[in-house]
């Protein structure tokens, strides 16, 4: 039986192994992904992002529990940074979720960013697809602790939670671009801290300044104390509200089209680049061209135009 067949039959080890192949960028993953793709599109994908230390993993743990109570099977992709120096990583998000480790309705997979920027790893979308095809109801993607520019999650998750904590900065932070613009639901976690009211107010002001159009989703600011389990039910209810909104407003179709376009272009870019690079490198052209550019005998713009013309035009 192929890995894909075993995965469709619910085999955890087969899924774990394919995720490994995907993460390591092995070509043998591709036929399996092809076989799984027709079975995707059923899972609800929830992104959880926010700065380091905001409590994303603890919140994820509580959200897992809330959805388990609702009888849903929950998969988690937890992403931690890879050291740019050694290439190694300590993936420790599980520490806060491991009480679910022996629950067969929960599958947690940790991934290192492996040099990829944007808050996800290069493998994330495909790993989510494996979970989706396998029939998991909910796939939670917890990004690395992000700053202001790591917004890749929003194109790949149906609903994006942005988790903040009180006291992160004055209200100028709230008018900056980046993760503050991508949230479908904002969460002020650790809301038992004294300056929580202010954080909620700043976020609410920012949402008002964005003033969504008529018929668009209006993001809410929720309060939680994840450690104590406070505010979780309300948060999950809000997530479900956004999910219903996507379906009823027709935005779900739009989301799927955007996501497909993005994925297609990404793969196209990867493949074209790899093939062209391999050809010019095998022929010795790559080294010659780079040398010529370095010696200012050729400019890089013309060099690329020539290669593109050579490989793609009639």
């Amino acid at each position: 039986m192929s890995l894909a067949e075993r995965i469709l039959a619910g085999d955890v080890r087969a899924a774990a192994r394919l995720m490994r192949f995907i993460d390591d960028g092995l070509d043998c993953a591709t036929p399996e992904l092809k076989a799984l793709y027709p079975h995707t599109g059923k899972a609800f994908i929830l992104g959880i992002t926010g700065p380091p230390g905001a409590g994303k993993s603890t919140l994820t743990d509580k959200i897992i529990a809330a959805y388990r109570q609702r009888g849903k099977r929950v998969a988690v992709v937890a992403i931690d940074p890879t050291s740019p120096f050694s290439g190694g990583a300590i993936l420790g998000d599980r520490i806060r979720m491991n009480r679910h480790a022996t629950d067969e309705g929960v599958f947690i997979r940790s991934l290192g960013t492996r040099g990829h920027l944007g808050g996800l790893s290069r493998s994330t979308v495909d790993v989510v697809n494996v979970f989706d095809a396998m029939g998991w109801d909910l796939v939670i993607v917890e990004t690395v602790g992000v700053g202001q520019d790591e917004v890749e999650i929003v194109r790949n998750a149906h609903t994006s939670l942005v988790v903040m904590v009180p006291g992160l900065g004055d209200d100028i932070q709230a008018i900056k671009a980046g993760i503050l613009e991508i949230g479908d639901v904002f969460v002020v976690n650790k809301a038992d801290r004294p300056d929580a009211d202010r954080a909620v107010r700043d976020l609410a002001t920012m949402i008002e300044m964005n003033h969504p159009d008529e018929g668009e989703w209006w993001p809410s600011v929720m309060r939680t104390v994840a450690q104590k389990g406070e505010g979780i039910e309300e948060l999950v209810e809000k997530i479900e509200e956004h999910r219903r909104f996507l379906a009823e407003s027709g935005q779900l179709k739009h989301f799927e089209e955007n996501k497909s376009a993005l994925r297609f272009e990404e793969l196209l870019r990867d493949q074209l680049f790899r093939q062209v690079r391999k050809r010019i490198s095998d022929s010795g052209n790559l080294a010659r061209t780079i040398e010529a550019i370095a010696r200012r005998e050729q400019d890089p713009y013309s060099a690329v135009e020539e290669i593109v013309a050579l490989h793609f035009q009639k």
Binding site: R13, A16, R17, D24, S86, I90, I95, I108, G112
Partner: protein
């Protein structure tokens, strides 16, 4: 863009009160370029084995300070077998008397490191003995 990277589980079964040693080893593994999944303190053998399978690790390393190594090592090894994952090597360390080491190896532990072992020695052993499983 293929890149095989070792994935190792660093786990603390049982009732140890602290995890300094495990954290130092996890950090050393990271600096050696490995991907380390760290579970935190007080994990049951069942939790450790499920984690190992979901994370598709190439080896499970156990850190045990409590004196319960003679129970916990065989338990983790047997559970892996039970789940059809006998090929996943188990090694570890902690406060383990020399006299107990032959028994642990007979039970299937690949290597046991005792206090005073340098992290370099552990990494050298890992590089020589642990390979990506597939």
């Amino acid at each position: 863009m293929s890149e095989r990277k070792l994935r190792l589980l660093v786990a603390k079964p049982g009732l140890d009160g602290h995890d300094r040693g495990a954290k130092i080893v996890a950090r050393a593994f990271r600096d050696a370029g490995f991907e380390v999944i760290y579970t935190g303190l007080r994990q049951t053998p069942e939790q450790i084995v499920t984690t190992a399978l979901q994370e598709d690790v190439d080896a499970v390393s156990l850190s045990i300070l409590s004196g319960a190594h003679n129970t916990l090592f065989p338990k983790v090894i047997d559970l892996l077998k039970e789940k059809g994952a006998a090929e996943v090597p188990v090694f570890g360390g902690g406060i383990i008397p020399e006299d107990d080491i032959p028994g642990l190896k007979a039970a299937g532990a690949k290597e046991i490191f005792t206090p005073g072992t340098s992290t370099e020695d552990i990494i050298t052993w890992v590089r020589a003995n642990i390979k990506p499983l597939a």
